[in-house]
Amino acid sequence: MLEVKGISRFFKGLVALDDVTFTVKQGDILGIIGPNGAGKSTLFNCITCFFPPSKGEVYFEGKKITGLNPFQITELGLTRTFQHTQVFPKLSVYENITTGQYVMKRKDPSRTKRQLEQKAHEIMEFVGVSEYKDTTAENLSLGYQTRLAIGIALATEPKLFLLDEPAAGMNPEETKQLVHLLREIRTKLGVTIILIEHDMKAVMGLCDKIVVLEYGKKIAEGTPQEIQENPRVIEAYLGSEALA
Protein backbone atom coordinates (compact mmCIF):
# COMPACT_ATOMS: atom_id res chain seq x y z
CA MET A 1 0.00 0.00 0.00
CA LEU A 2 2.90 2.31 0.75
CA GLU A 3 6.30 2.04 -0.84
CA VAL A 4 9.16 4.20 0.35
CA LYS A 5 11.96 4.07 -2.19
CA GLY A 6 15.41 5.32 -1.37
CA ILE A 7 14.44 8.42 0.61
CA SER A 8 17.31 10.74 1.59
CA ARG A 9 17.14 14.15 3.14
CA PHE A 10 19.98 16.61 3.66
CA PHE A 11 19.94 19.68 5.90
CA LYS A 12 22.79 22.06 5.22
CA GLY A 13 25.21 19.30 4.44
CA LEU A 14 24.04 17.06 7.26
CA VAL A 15 22.44 13.79 6.28
CA ALA A 16 19.22 13.40 8.24
CA LEU A 17 17.98 10.46 6.19
CA ASP A 18 20.14 8.17 4.15
CA ASP A 19 18.58 6.02 1.44
CA VAL A 20 15.70 4.56 3.46
CA THR A 21 13.55 1.96 1.71
CA PHE A 22 10.65 -0.09 3.04
CA THR A 23 7.09 -1.06 2.24
CA VAL A 24 3.91 -1.26 4.26
CA LYS A 25 1.23 -3.87 3.61
CA GLN A 26 -2.48 -3.10 3.71
CA GLY A 27 -3.81 -3.62 7.23
CA ASP A 28 -0.42 -3.70 8.94
CA ILE A 29 0.78 -1.70 11.88
CA LEU A 30 4.34 -0.62 11.23
CA GLY A 31 6.52 0.81 13.99
CA ILE A 32 9.45 3.11 13.34
CA ILE A 33 11.94 3.18 16.19
CA GLY A 34 15.45 4.40 16.79
CA PRO A 35 17.52 6.46 19.22
CA ASN A 36 17.25 10.25 19.45
CA GLY A 37 18.09 12.07 16.28
CA ALA A 38 17.81 8.97 14.12
CA GLY A 39 15.65 10.81 11.57
CA LYS A 40 12.26 9.34 12.40
CA SER A 41 10.29 12.58 12.27
CA THR A 42 12.14 13.64 9.13
CA LEU A 43 11.05 10.39 7.52
CA PHE A 44 7.44 11.12 8.48
CA ASN A 45 7.64 14.60 7.05
CA CYS A 46 9.00 13.26 3.77
CA ILE A 47 6.33 10.57 3.49
CA THR A 48 3.50 13.00 4.23
CA CYS A 49 4.82 15.63 1.78
CA PHE A 50 5.28 18.11 4.63
CA PHE A 51 8.61 18.77 3.03
CA PRO A 52 10.14 17.04 0.03
CA PRO A 53 12.91 14.45 0.29
CA SER A 54 16.21 15.44 -1.27
CA LYS A 55 16.24 12.10 -3.08
CA GLY A 56 13.86 9.19 -3.51
CA GLU A 57 10.15 8.70 -3.97
CA VAL A 58 7.11 7.57 -2.08
CA TYR A 59 4.27 5.58 -3.69
CA PHE A 60 0.85 5.26 -2.12
CA GLU A 61 -1.37 2.56 -3.61
CA GLY A 62 0.84 2.55 -6.66
CA LYS A 63 0.58 6.30 -7.18
CA LYS A 64 3.60 8.53 -6.72
CA ILE A 65 2.81 11.07 -4.00
CA THR A 66 6.19 12.76 -3.68
CA GLY A 67 5.74 16.34 -4.86
CA LEU A 68 2.08 16.56 -3.96
CA ASN A 69 0.73 18.91 -1.30
CA PRO A 70 -0.36 17.60 2.10
CA PHE A 71 -3.98 18.58 1.47
CA GLN A 72 -3.92 16.51 -1.71
CA ILE A 73 -2.63 13.36 -0.07
CA THR A 74 -5.29 13.71 2.62
CA GLU A 75 -7.81 13.43 -0.17
CA LEU A 76 -6.09 10.26 -1.37
CA GLY A 77 -6.54 8.78 2.09
CA LEU A 78 -3.32 9.44 3.94
CA THR A 79 -3.14 11.61 7.05
CA ARG A 80 -1.06 12.06 10.15
CA THR A 81 -0.81 13.51 13.63
CA PHE A 82 2.09 15.60 14.89
CA GLN A 83 4.38 15.14 17.85
CA HIS A 84 3.22 16.69 21.13
CA THR A 85 -0.40 16.18 20.20
CA GLN A 86 -1.64 18.90 17.97
CA VAL A 87 -5.33 19.74 17.93
CA PHE A 88 -7.26 22.94 17.20
CA PRO A 89 -6.95 24.31 20.75
CA LYS A 90 -9.67 26.96 20.94
CA LEU A 91 -12.39 24.87 19.30
CA SER A 92 -14.72 22.48 21.07
CA VAL A 93 -14.12 18.77 20.76
CA TYR A 94 -17.07 18.45 18.40
CA GLU A 95 -15.85 21.34 16.24
CA ASN A 96 -12.42 19.74 16.12
CA ILE A 97 -13.93 16.57 14.70
CA THR A 98 -16.07 18.40 12.14
CA THR A 99 -13.01 20.37 11.04
CA GLY A 100 -11.46 16.98 10.34
CA GLN A 101 -14.36 16.28 8.01
CA TYR A 102 -13.39 19.21 5.79
CA VAL A 103 -12.00 16.94 3.10
CA MET A 104 -15.13 14.77 2.98
CA LYS A 105 -16.91 17.16 0.68
CA ARG A 106 -14.29 16.53 -1.97
CA LYS A 107 -13.81 12.85 -1.17
CA ASP A 108 -17.46 11.92 -1.08
CA PRO A 109 -19.81 14.77 -2.07
CA SER A 110 -22.87 12.55 -1.83
CA ARG A 111 -22.78 12.55 1.96
CA THR A 112 -25.46 14.71 3.59
CA LYS A 113 -24.89 17.06 6.48
CA ARG A 114 -26.95 14.76 8.65
CA GLN A 115 -24.77 11.79 7.78
CA LEU A 116 -21.62 13.74 8.55
CA GLU A 117 -22.96 14.81 11.94
CA GLN A 118 -23.88 11.23 12.65
CA LYS A 119 -20.38 10.16 11.65
CA ALA A 120 -18.76 12.84 13.84
CA HIS A 121 -20.63 11.49 16.83
CA GLU A 122 -19.58 7.96 16.00
CA ILE A 123 -15.95 9.05 15.84
CA MET A 124 -16.17 10.86 19.18
CA GLU A 125 -17.69 7.71 20.64
CA PHE A 126 -15.01 5.56 19.04
CA VAL A 127 -12.05 7.51 20.38
CA GLY A 128 -13.82 8.05 23.70
CA VAL A 129 -14.26 11.82 23.87
CA SER A 130 -18.06 12.01 23.58
CA GLU A 131 -18.60 13.15 27.13
CA TYR A 132 -16.38 16.19 26.49
CA LYS A 133 -18.15 17.09 23.25
CA ASP A 134 -18.55 20.78 24.14
CA THR A 135 -15.29 21.22 26.02
CA THR A 136 -12.63 23.46 24.50
CA ALA A 137 -9.84 21.21 23.28
CA GLU A 138 -7.08 23.05 25.17
CA ASN A 139 -8.81 22.25 28.45
CA LEU A 140 -8.60 18.50 27.91
CA SER A 141 -5.92 16.47 29.63
CA LEU A 142 -3.06 15.28 27.46
CA GLY A 143 -4.44 11.77 27.09
CA TYR A 144 -7.76 13.05 25.82
CA GLN A 145 -6.09 15.55 23.52
CA THR A 146 -4.24 12.68 21.88
CA ARG A 147 -7.51 10.79 21.49
CA LEU A 148 -9.03 13.90 19.97
CA ALA A 149 -6.13 14.33 17.54
CA ILE A 150 -6.65 10.73 16.46
CA GLY A 151 -10.36 11.43 16.12
CA ILE A 152 -9.70 14.43 13.87
CA ALA A 153 -7.45 12.34 11.67
CA LEU A 154 -10.04 9.55 11.52
CA ALA A 155 -12.65 12.09 10.45
CA THR A 156 -10.74 12.45 7.18
CA GLU A 157 -11.42 8.70 6.74
CA PRO A 158 -7.87 7.70 5.95
CA LYS A 159 -6.66 4.42 4.54
CA LEU A 160 -3.20 5.02 5.97
CA PHE A 161 -2.62 6.86 9.20
CA LEU A 162 0.76 8.04 10.50
CA LEU A 163 1.19 8.86 14.18
CA ASP A 164 4.21 10.68 15.56
CA GLU A 165 4.89 9.62 19.15
CA PRO A 166 1.29 9.38 20.33
CA ALA A 167 2.22 8.01 23.75
CA ALA A 168 4.73 10.74 24.65
CA GLY A 169 4.02 12.09 28.11
CA MET A 170 1.38 9.49 28.90
CA ASN A 171 1.31 7.36 32.01
CA PRO A 172 1.32 3.56 31.61
CA GLU A 173 -2.44 3.30 32.02
CA GLU A 174 -3.09 5.90 29.31
CA THR A 175 -0.56 4.19 27.05
CA LYS A 176 -2.36 0.88 27.48
CA GLN A 177 -5.65 2.48 26.48
CA LEU A 178 -3.99 4.10 23.49
CA VAL A 179 -2.60 0.77 22.30
CA HIS A 180 -6.07 -0.67 22.60
CA LEU A 181 -7.52 2.20 20.58
CA LEU A 182 -4.93 1.81 17.81
CA ARG A 183 -5.67 -1.91 17.58
CA GLU A 184 -9.36 -1.14 17.21
CA ILE A 185 -8.63 1.36 14.46
CA ARG A 186 -6.92 -1.41 12.56
CA THR A 187 -9.42 -4.16 13.19
CA LYS A 188 -12.69 -2.23 13.15
CA LEU A 189 -11.90 0.47 10.62
CA GLY A 190 -9.36 -1.41 8.56
CA VAL A 191 -6.91 1.49 8.62
CA THR A 192 -3.23 0.80 8.04
CA ILE A 193 -1.01 2.48 10.64
CA ILE A 194 2.57 3.68 10.81
CA LEU A 195 3.77 5.00 14.12
CA ILE A 196 6.87 6.45 15.65
CA GLU A 197 7.03 5.54 19.30
CA HIS A 198 9.54 5.43 22.10
CA ASP A 199 7.56 3.23 24.42
CA MET A 200 9.07 -0.13 23.51
CA LYS A 201 6.48 -2.21 25.31
CA ALA A 202 3.77 -0.51 23.29
CA VAL A 203 5.64 -0.88 20.01
CA MET A 204 6.52 -4.53 20.55
CA GLY A 205 3.02 -5.45 21.57
CA LEU A 206 1.28 -3.54 18.81
CA CYS A 207 3.29 -3.71 15.61
CA ASP A 208 3.39 -6.37 12.94
CA LYS A 209 6.61 -5.04 11.56
CA ILE A 210 9.28 -2.67 12.82
CA VAL A 211 11.79 -0.51 11.00
CA VAL A 212 14.80 0.63 13.03
CA LEU A 213 16.67 3.80 12.13
CA GLU A 214 20.02 4.97 13.42
CA TYR A 215 21.84 8.06 12.16
CA GLY A 216 19.34 8.32 9.30
CA LYS A 217 19.98 4.80 8.05
CA LYS A 218 17.72 1.80 8.24
CA ILE A 219 19.66 -0.70 10.35
CA ALA A 220 17.01 -3.37 10.74
CA GLU A 221 13.55 -4.36 9.64
CA GLY A 222 11.42 -7.26 10.76
CA THR A 223 8.86 -8.64 13.18
CA PRO A 224 9.12 -7.62 16.84
CA GLN A 225 10.59 -11.05 17.51
CA GLU A 226 13.33 -10.55 14.92
CA ILE A 227 14.05 -7.04 16.10
CA GLN A 228 14.41 -8.20 19.71
CA GLU A 229 16.98 -10.76 18.70
CA ASN A 230 18.94 -8.46 16.43
CA PRO A 231 22.25 -7.60 18.16
CA ARG A 232 22.66 -4.53 15.96
CA VAL A 233 19.44 -3.08 17.39
CA ILE A 234 20.42 -3.83 20.96
CA GLU A 235 23.73 -2.13 20.37
CA ALA A 236 22.04 0.91 18.86
CA TYR A 237 20.02 1.29 22.03
CA LEU A 238 22.29 0.14 24.80
CA GLY A 239 25.54 1.19 23.18
CA SER A 240 28.55 -0.97 22.67
CA GLU A 241 30.69 -1.72 25.68
CA ALA A 242 33.75 -1.45 23.55
CA LEU A 243 33.57 2.33 23.76
CA ALA A 244 34.37 2.71 27.39
Binding site: N69, E75, T79, R80, T81, P89, K90, Y102, I152
Partner: protein, 336 residues
Protein backbone atom coordinates in the same frame (compact mmCIF):
# COMPACT_ATOMS: atom_id res chain seq x y z
CA UNK B 1 -33.64 25.55 21.24
CA UNK B 2 -34.96 27.93 23.85
CA UNK B 3 -31.58 29.53 24.00
CA UNK B 4 -31.56 30.03 20.25
CA UNK B 5 -34.99 31.58 20.25
CA UNK B 6 -33.87 34.00 22.94
CA UNK B 7 -30.88 34.95 20.87
CA UNK B 8 -32.97 35.68 17.78
CA UNK B 9 -35.42 37.62 19.91
CA UNK B 10 -32.63 39.76 21.32
CA UNK B 11 -31.23 40.46 17.88
CA UNK B 12 -34.63 41.49 16.54
CA UNK B 13 -35.21 43.71 19.56
CA UNK B 14 -31.83 45.36 19.09
CA UNK B 15 -32.50 45.92 15.39
CA UNK B 16 -35.91 47.44 16.17
CA UNK B 17 -34.37 49.78 18.72
CA UNK B 18 -31.60 50.69 16.26
CA UNK B 19 -34.08 51.46 13.51
CA UNK B 20 -36.14 53.87 15.61
CA UNK B 21 -33.13 55.67 17.07
CA UNK B 22 -33.14 58.55 14.53
CA UNK B 23 -36.53 59.56 15.91
CA UNK B 24 -35.25 59.63 19.46
CA UNK B 25 -31.72 60.98 19.42
CA UNK B 26 -30.26 64.32 18.51
CA UNK B 27 -28.34 64.80 15.31
CA UNK B 28 -24.94 64.69 16.99
CA UNK B 29 -25.52 61.28 18.54
CA UNK B 30 -26.74 60.01 15.19
CA UNK B 31 -23.50 61.24 13.70
CA UNK B 32 -21.55 59.20 16.24
CA UNK B 33 -23.69 56.15 15.52
CA UNK B 34 -23.00 56.62 11.82
CA UNK B 35 -19.28 56.68 12.48
CA UNK B 36 -19.61 53.55 14.56
CA UNK B 37 -21.52 51.85 11.77
CA UNK B 38 -18.83 52.54 9.20
CA UNK B 39 -16.08 51.38 11.55
CA UNK B 40 -18.06 48.25 12.38
CA UNK B 41 -17.83 47.27 8.71
CA UNK B 42 -14.10 47.95 8.69
CA UNK B 43 -13.45 46.05 11.92
CA UNK B 44 -15.60 43.16 10.70
CA UNK B 45 -13.34 42.95 7.66
CA UNK B 46 -10.19 43.15 9.78
CA UNK B 47 -11.62 40.55 12.15
CA UNK B 48 -11.93 38.17 9.23
CA UNK B 49 -8.14 38.28 8.88
CA UNK B 50 -6.92 38.84 12.42
CA UNK B 51 -9.61 37.11 14.41
CA UNK B 52 -10.62 34.22 12.20
CA UNK B 53 -7.67 33.49 9.92
CA UNK B 54 -5.09 34.52 12.52
CA UNK B 55 -3.02 36.85 10.32
CA UNK B 56 -2.18 40.23 11.86
CA UNK B 57 -2.79 42.66 9.01
CA UNK B 58 -1.86 46.32 9.08
CA UNK B 59 -2.87 46.88 5.48
CA UNK B 60 -6.57 47.32 6.14
CA UNK B 61 -6.57 51.06 6.69
CA UNK B 62 -4.74 51.32 3.37
CA UNK B 63 -7.38 49.20 1.65
CA UNK B 64 -10.08 51.25 3.37
CA UNK B 65 -8.40 54.33 1.87
CA UNK B 66 -8.34 52.71 -1.58
CA UNK B 67 -12.09 52.16 -1.34
CA UNK B 68 -12.66 55.71 -0.15
CA UNK B 69 -10.53 57.26 -2.87
CA UNK B 70 -11.93 55.07 -5.64
CA UNK B 71 -15.43 56.07 -4.70
CA UNK B 72 -14.49 59.74 -4.21
CA UNK B 73 -12.68 60.02 -7.53
CA UNK B 74 -15.42 58.24 -9.44
CA UNK B 75 -18.17 60.42 -7.99
CA UNK B 76 -16.33 63.73 -8.23
CA UNK B 77 -14.16 63.59 -11.36
CA UNK B 78 -15.81 60.83 -13.37
CA UNK B 79 -19.37 61.82 -12.53
CA UNK B 80 -20.47 58.36 -11.47
CA UNK B 81 -23.32 58.03 -9.03
CA UNK B 82 -22.56 56.70 -5.57
CA UNK B 83 -24.58 53.58 -6.31
CA UNK B 84 -22.28 52.53 -9.15
CA UNK B 85 -19.04 53.60 -7.52
CA UNK B 86 -19.93 51.80 -4.29
CA UNK B 87 -19.46 48.25 -5.69
CA UNK B 88 -16.55 49.35 -7.88
CA UNK B 89 -14.72 50.61 -4.78
CA UNK B 90 -15.13 47.22 -3.16
CA UNK B 91 -13.91 45.44 -6.29
CA UNK B 92 -10.86 47.69 -6.69
CA UNK B 93 -9.88 47.19 -3.05
CA UNK B 94 -10.46 43.46 -3.38
CA UNK B 95 -8.30 43.18 -6.48
CA UNK B 96 -5.55 45.20 -4.82
CA UNK B 97 -5.88 42.97 -1.76
CA UNK B 98 -5.43 39.92 -3.97
CA UNK B 99 -2.32 41.41 -5.60
CA UNK B 100 -0.82 42.36 -2.26
CA UNK B 101 -1.82 39.03 -0.77
CA UNK B 102 0.07 36.96 -3.32
CA UNK B 103 3.53 37.92 -2.04
CA UNK B 104 2.55 38.86 1.50
CA UNK B 105 0.76 35.71 2.58
CA UNK B 106 3.98 33.76 2.25
CA UNK B 107 5.11 35.46 5.43
CA UNK B 108 4.07 34.48 8.91
CA UNK B 109 3.47 36.29 12.20
CA UNK B 110 5.63 39.39 12.67
CA UNK B 111 6.94 39.40 9.10
CA UNK B 112 3.39 39.35 7.82
CA UNK B 113 2.57 42.23 10.16
CA UNK B 114 5.45 44.41 9.03
CA UNK B 115 5.04 43.70 5.33
CA UNK B 116 1.33 44.55 5.45
CA UNK B 117 2.25 47.68 7.38
CA UNK B 118 4.68 48.48 4.58
CA UNK B 119 1.99 48.05 1.94
CA UNK B 120 -0.44 50.15 3.98
CA UNK B 121 2.13 52.94 4.15
CA UNK B 122 2.93 52.63 0.44
CA UNK B 123 -0.76 53.13 -0.31
CA UNK B 124 -0.95 56.15 1.95
CA UNK B 125 2.21 57.72 0.59
CA UNK B 126 1.10 57.08 -2.98
CA UNK B 127 -2.15 58.85 -2.27
CA UNK B 128 -0.20 61.65 -0.64
CA UNK B 129 2.08 62.06 -3.65
CA UNK B 130 -0.23 61.42 -6.57
CA UNK B 131 -1.62 64.94 -6.53
CA UNK B 132 -3.26 64.90 -9.98
CA UNK B 133 -5.49 62.03 -9.05
CA UNK B 134 -5.95 62.33 -5.30
CA UNK B 135 -5.39 65.97 -4.54
CA UNK B 136 -2.34 65.01 -2.48
CA UNK B 137 -2.31 66.33 1.09
CA UNK B 138 -5.32 68.55 0.36
CA UNK B 139 -7.56 65.57 -0.11
CA UNK B 140 -10.80 65.51 -2.06
CA UNK B 141 -13.66 67.90 -1.21
CA UNK B 142 -17.36 67.95 -1.98
CA UNK B 143 -17.82 64.26 -2.46
CA UNK B 144 -21.52 64.00 -3.31
CA UNK B 145 -23.97 62.22 -1.07
CA UNK B 146 -25.73 59.23 -2.58
CA UNK B 147 -28.65 60.26 -4.80
CA UNK B 148 -32.05 59.92 -3.25
CA UNK B 149 -33.79 56.59 -3.33
CA UNK B 150 -36.90 55.31 -1.60
CA UNK B 151 -37.64 58.81 -0.45
CA UNK B 152 -34.45 58.96 1.62
CA UNK B 153 -32.42 62.15 1.44
CA UNK B 154 -28.83 61.18 2.21
CA UNK B 155 -27.77 64.73 2.89
CA UNK B 156 -29.52 64.21 6.19
CA UNK B 157 -27.60 62.28 8.83
CA UNK B 158 -30.79 60.67 10.01
CA UNK B 159 -31.42 59.25 6.55
CA UNK B 160 -27.84 58.26 5.85
CA UNK B 161 -28.08 56.37 9.11
CA UNK B 162 -30.31 53.77 7.49
CA UNK B 163 -27.90 53.15 4.65
CA UNK B 164 -25.09 52.62 7.12
CA UNK B 165 -27.21 50.50 9.42
CA UNK B 166 -28.33 48.22 6.61
CA UNK B 167 -24.79 47.96 5.21
CA UNK B 168 -23.33 47.14 8.62
CA UNK B 169 -26.00 44.57 9.40
CA UNK B 170 -25.54 42.93 6.00
CA UNK B 171 -21.76 42.84 6.33
CA UNK B 172 -21.89 41.40 9.84
CA UNK B 173 -24.48 38.87 8.73
CA UNK B 174 -22.32 37.98 5.74
CA UNK B 175 -19.27 37.46 7.97
CA UNK B 176 -21.35 35.34 10.31
CA UNK B 177 -22.60 33.15 7.46
CA UNK B 178 -19.11 32.87 6.00
CA UNK B 179 -17.69 31.78 9.32
CA UNK B 180 -20.35 29.12 9.61
CA UNK B 181 -19.52 27.83 6.14
CA UNK B 182 -16.96 25.23 5.17
CA UNK B 183 -14.52 27.95 4.09
CA UNK B 184 -15.01 29.75 7.38
CA UNK B 185 -14.17 26.57 9.24
CA UNK B 186 -11.05 26.24 7.14
CA UNK B 187 -10.04 29.79 8.08
CA UNK B 188 -10.43 29.02 11.76
CA UNK B 189 -8.50 25.78 11.37
CA UNK B 190 -5.62 27.77 9.84
CA UNK B 191 -5.67 30.17 12.76
CA UNK B 192 -5.68 27.33 15.26
CA UNK B 193 -3.04 25.10 13.70
CA UNK B 194 -1.88 25.75 10.17
CA UNK B 195 0.17 22.56 9.87
CA UNK B 196 -2.55 20.24 11.01
CA UNK B 197 -5.04 22.11 8.81
CA UNK B 198 -3.07 20.86 5.81
CA UNK B 199 -3.61 17.29 6.92
CA UNK B 200 -7.36 17.55 7.20
CA UNK B 201 -7.26 18.44 3.52
CA UNK B 202 -7.35 22.24 3.65
CA UNK B 203 -5.56 24.10 0.86
CA UNK B 204 -4.32 26.67 3.32
CA UNK B 205 -2.79 28.94 0.71
CA UNK B 206 -6.01 29.21 -1.28
CA UNK B 207 -8.11 29.85 1.81
CA UNK B 208 -5.76 32.55 3.06
CA UNK B 209 -5.69 34.42 -0.24
CA UNK B 210 -9.47 34.15 -0.47
CA UNK B 211 -9.90 35.54 3.04
CA UNK B 212 -7.48 38.37 2.39
CA UNK B 213 -9.14 39.35 -0.89
CA UNK B 214 -12.60 39.25 0.59
CA UNK B 215 -11.58 41.18 3.64
CA UNK B 216 -9.91 43.79 1.42
CA UNK B 217 -13.12 44.17 -0.57
CA UNK B 218 -15.12 44.70 2.63
CA UNK B 219 -12.62 47.32 3.77
CA UNK B 220 -13.03 49.07 0.40
CA UNK B 221 -16.78 48.92 0.81
CA UNK B 222 -16.48 50.65 4.20
CA UNK B 223 -14.15 53.23 2.64
CA UNK B 224 -16.69 54.08 0.00
CA UNK B 225 -19.34 54.73 2.64
CA UNK B 226 -16.86 56.75 4.66
CA UNK B 227 -15.99 59.03 1.74
CA UNK B 228 -19.56 59.64 0.81
CA UNK B 229 -20.76 60.23 4.36
CA UNK B 230 -18.02 62.66 5.33
CA UNK B 231 -17.90 64.24 1.84
CA UNK B 232 -14.22 64.97 2.45
CA UNK B 233 -11.18 62.69 2.64
CA UNK B 234 -7.45 63.26 2.95
CA UNK B 235 -4.40 61.05 3.51
CA UNK B 236 -4.37 62.16 7.15
CA UNK B 237 -7.40 59.99 7.85
CA UNK B 238 -5.52 56.81 6.96
CA UNK B 239 -2.38 56.79 9.08
CA UNK B 240 -0.70 54.14 11.19
CA UNK B 241 -2.61 55.54 14.17
CA UNK B 242 -5.85 54.51 12.48
CA UNK B 243 -4.44 51.06 11.83
CA UNK B 244 -3.70 50.73 15.52
CA UNK B 245 -7.14 52.05 16.44
CA UNK B 246 -9.05 49.50 14.38
CA UNK B 247 -6.80 46.72 15.57
CA UNK B 248 -7.50 47.76 19.13
CA UNK B 249 -11.24 47.78 18.38
CA UNK B 250 -11.01 44.19 17.21
CA UNK B 251 -8.76 43.01 20.02
CA UNK B 252 -10.37 44.79 22.95
CA UNK B 253 -13.83 43.55 22.05
CA UNK B 254 -12.66 40.00 21.57
CA UNK B 255 -11.27 38.93 18.23
CA UNK B 256 -12.57 35.92 16.42
CA UNK B 257 -16.11 36.56 17.58
CA UNK B 258 -18.94 38.30 15.74
CA UNK B 259 -20.00 40.57 18.59
CA UNK B 260 -16.50 41.38 19.89
CA UNK B 261 -15.44 43.89 17.22
CA UNK B 262 -18.88 45.54 17.35
CA UNK B 263 -18.55 45.96 21.10
CA UNK B 264 -14.97 47.14 20.78
CA UNK B 265 -15.78 49.67 18.08
CA UNK B 266 -18.74 51.06 19.97
CA UNK B 267 -16.80 51.21 23.20
CA UNK B 268 -13.76 52.94 21.72
CA UNK B 269 -15.74 55.48 19.72
CA UNK B 270 -18.14 56.25 22.55
CA UNK B 271 -15.49 56.39 25.26
CA UNK B 272 -14.01 59.78 24.31
CA UNK B 273 -17.48 61.13 23.52
CA UNK B 274 -18.93 60.15 26.86
CA UNK B 275 -16.08 61.60 28.82
CA UNK B 276 -15.60 64.94 27.20
CA UNK B 277 -12.67 65.76 29.38
CA UNK B 278 -10.71 62.81 28.04
CA UNK B 279 -11.60 63.12 24.39
CA UNK B 280 -8.37 64.95 23.66
CA UNK B 281 -6.51 62.07 25.22
CA UNK B 282 -8.09 59.59 22.85
CA UNK B 283 -4.90 58.24 21.30
CA UNK B 284 -3.06 58.19 24.64
CA UNK B 285 -5.85 56.06 26.05
CA UNK B 286 -5.91 53.82 22.97
CA UNK B 287 -2.18 53.21 23.20
CA UNK B 288 -2.32 52.45 26.90
CA UNK B 289 -5.35 50.21 26.45
CA UNK B 290 -3.58 48.22 23.76
CA UNK B 291 -0.67 47.52 26.09
CA UNK B 292 -2.96 46.61 28.98
CA UNK B 293 -5.17 44.41 26.79
CA UNK B 294 -2.17 42.46 25.53
CA UNK B 295 -0.79 42.07 29.02
CA UNK B 296 -3.89 41.23 30.98
CA UNK B 297 -6.88 40.56 28.76
CA UNK B 298 -5.93 38.71 25.63
CA UNK B 299 -9.47 37.49 24.92
CA UNK B 300 -10.92 40.99 25.09
CA UNK B 301 -14.01 42.27 26.85
CA UNK B 302 -16.05 39.34 25.59
CA UNK B 303 -13.51 36.88 26.95
CA UNK B 304 -13.71 38.62 30.31
CA UNK B 305 -17.48 38.36 30.38
CA UNK B 306 -17.39 34.74 29.23
CA UNK B 307 -14.86 33.65 31.78
CA UNK B 308 -16.95 35.35 34.44
CA UNK B 309 -20.11 33.55 33.34
CA UNK B 310 -18.27 30.27 32.96
CA UNK B 311 -16.90 30.47 36.44
CA UNK B 312 -20.43 30.62 37.78
CA UNK B 313 -21.91 28.05 35.45
CA UNK B 314 -19.40 25.28 35.02
CA UNK B 315 -18.26 24.94 38.54
CA UNK B 316 -18.79 21.20 38.70
CA UNK B 317 -17.56 20.33 35.25
CA UNK B 318 -14.12 21.70 35.86
CA UNK B 319 -13.20 19.05 38.37
CA UNK B 320 -13.67 16.32 35.81
CA UNK B 321 -10.92 17.67 33.63
CA UNK B 322 -7.45 18.05 34.85
CA UNK B 323 -5.58 20.92 33.32
CA UNK B 324 -1.86 21.32 33.45
CA UNK B 325 -1.93 24.02 36.06
CA UNK B 326 -4.00 21.97 38.44
CA UNK B 327 -1.79 18.93 37.99
CA UNK B 328 1.20 21.07 38.74
CA UNK B 329 -0.49 22.48 41.80
CA UNK B 330 -1.37 19.01 43.02
CA UNK B 331 2.11 17.78 42.37
CA UNK B 332 3.45 20.76 44.26
CA UNK B 333 1.12 20.48 47.23
CA UNK B 334 1.95 16.83 47.76
CA UNK B 335 5.42 17.89 48.61
CA UNK B 336 4.94 21.04 50.58
Amino acid sequence: MNNNRMKIGTIIAVLVVLSVLPFLLDSYLIHILNQIGIWVILTASLNLMVGYTGQLSFAHVGLFAVGAYTSAILTTSAGFSFWTSFPIAAIVAGVLGFIIGLPVLRFKTHFFAIVTLGFGEIIRLTIYNWRDLTGGPNGIYNIPFPTNILGLDFALREHFYYLILISAVLVVLFVKLLIGSRTGKAMIAIRENENFALFVGINTWKVKIFAFTLSAALAGFAGSLYASYNSYISPYSFTVSESVSILLMVIIGGMGTIIGPILGTTFLIFLPELLRSVSEWRMVIYGGLLVLTIMFMRDGILGLIKSFVRKKKHHSEKNLLSTGKEEAAIAGSERN
